[in-house]
Amino acid sequence: MINMNSYFKKNKLKIAPWLFMAPGLLMFITYVIWPIAGSINISFYDWDGLGEKTWIGMGNYVELFDDEAFYKSLKNNFIWLILYMLAVPIGLFMALFLNQSVRGIRIYKSMFFFPFVISQVVVGLVFSWFYDPNFGLLNIVIEFFGGTGIAILADERYVTYGIIAAGLWPQTAYCMILYLTGLNAVDSEQIEAGRLDNAKGWKMLWYIILPQLKPATFIAIVVTVIGALRSFDMVSIMTAGGPWGSSRVLAYYMYEKSFSEYGFRMGYGAAIAVILFLIMMVYITFFLLKMYRDEKAN
């Protein structure tokens, strides 16, 4: 027998979530989900952004395979991805260094976190003149110790590494704060038990502390990977992809192809974006699978 009241209630519970979600979901679909489909579609066309679109099928992707600038950007993206990971261990060690309760330590912690709060545009500008060959502090230090100064941002060999080092500055601060929060929650009884078993230093860190920091490590890796693949601001500010395109990454190359002085090639740009998206999807899938397992466990 269906009770009227419970029948109504059941329906109410079915409708309510959709009403609550409607505005957010609608905007999200319009501005995020639909544009992804839109870009994939554009990538099959030759289009200057204004005139007629011409269907060229896989044409843009075929062109990509022969485009040296594309390979250079892809390679730089992998260098970013690998070196950016340094933020995780360095952040951990900084957190260990700061995880004390001496006087004023809270202010120290916030000051160390500082680089993450300021805009990447400012970080980019700051490092541009830190690296400046004429008066940059870096070269003054190098010359002080008897070395010869180098124009990092004007040298094809070093430019990408120079930008990554600048990017590591805020990213390390981010990882540090994740670990500091994680260290707060480490079970002190386990540490004591470890001490009784004569675990010290590295052993303690590896066998007792790190396993408990797993959630922090996970988030640190996720945000660092995303940060590395999203790298655009720093490249744009510090070198605009130069010298001679040697510091381009996919995100920047896409922007350059789509609209810049080199002409508006929306279709080609979209194809580059799709490749970047597919690389990112690997990580997104990995993240979602982990989330799914956690949800199931609860």
Binding site: P23, Q120, S236, I272, M291
Partner: protein
Amino acid sequence: MFPKPIENTNILTQSVYKTALPIVLILWLLPLIAVALTSFRSGGDLISGNYWGWPTSFDLYENYTSVFKNTPLAQYMWNSFRVTIPTVFGAVALSCMTGFALAVYNFKGNILIFFLFIAGNFVPFQILMVPVRDLSVQMGVYNSVWALILFHIAFQAGFCTLFMRNFIKALPRELIEAARVEGVNEFQIFWYIVIPLMKPAIAALSVLIFTFIWNDYFWATVLTQGVDSQPVTAGLYSLNGQWISQWHLVSAGSIVAALPPVLMFFTMQKHFIAGLTLGAVK
């Protein structure tokens, strides 16, 4: 506590630690300190190559006023506020609702929609660039702060929903069940029971979104141009082009642009960090 608390070590280690702290901090912030120092040098010092020596004069006041008087920095800053504040309100409001829906109701597709929000949040901006720009042009908001506000609200909905949903999920379910038994309707449950409990989450998200949006550079260059609508990140970039080798002005401008998120961070530190850890590292 790990590592071993420093107060349990011998006096030598303690004093080494206490001297090392400020030294490491200065090294860590060296690039920033250099900028701050440059921002009160005189233009003459920079021309004569006196970058790091003792300044011939302290032009703190002159540099900062000249940056406001001779450039549209104030307008850029104002634009940033016009973009950031409505975005914070919009994104937090929308995600309170989506988070509530996904945390409280069991319906078909719940997990799918939740994952859609998470996945969307990680997507590279470039895959959205051309369609979002076209959409803004069609809606007639291109090159206005509204282009940025609407996009940012929509995009941040992904991260904010993840955050809010997890927060609400951790609230005691009995509260909601009990209210339902009492005959309280769903909207009242949301408004009178859940929202008051969400205050810490709302605070954390607001600070975080403020910083993210203030610091956005990519969308600022894609969706706006010119002094009337560009936020300070993009503005700083174009000023940098005009100010070639006037580093004392570039650095004063950079410091001004960095100030709002920095102040936000220092006043709301606890909330900021709670937000950053996605509420996952408890």
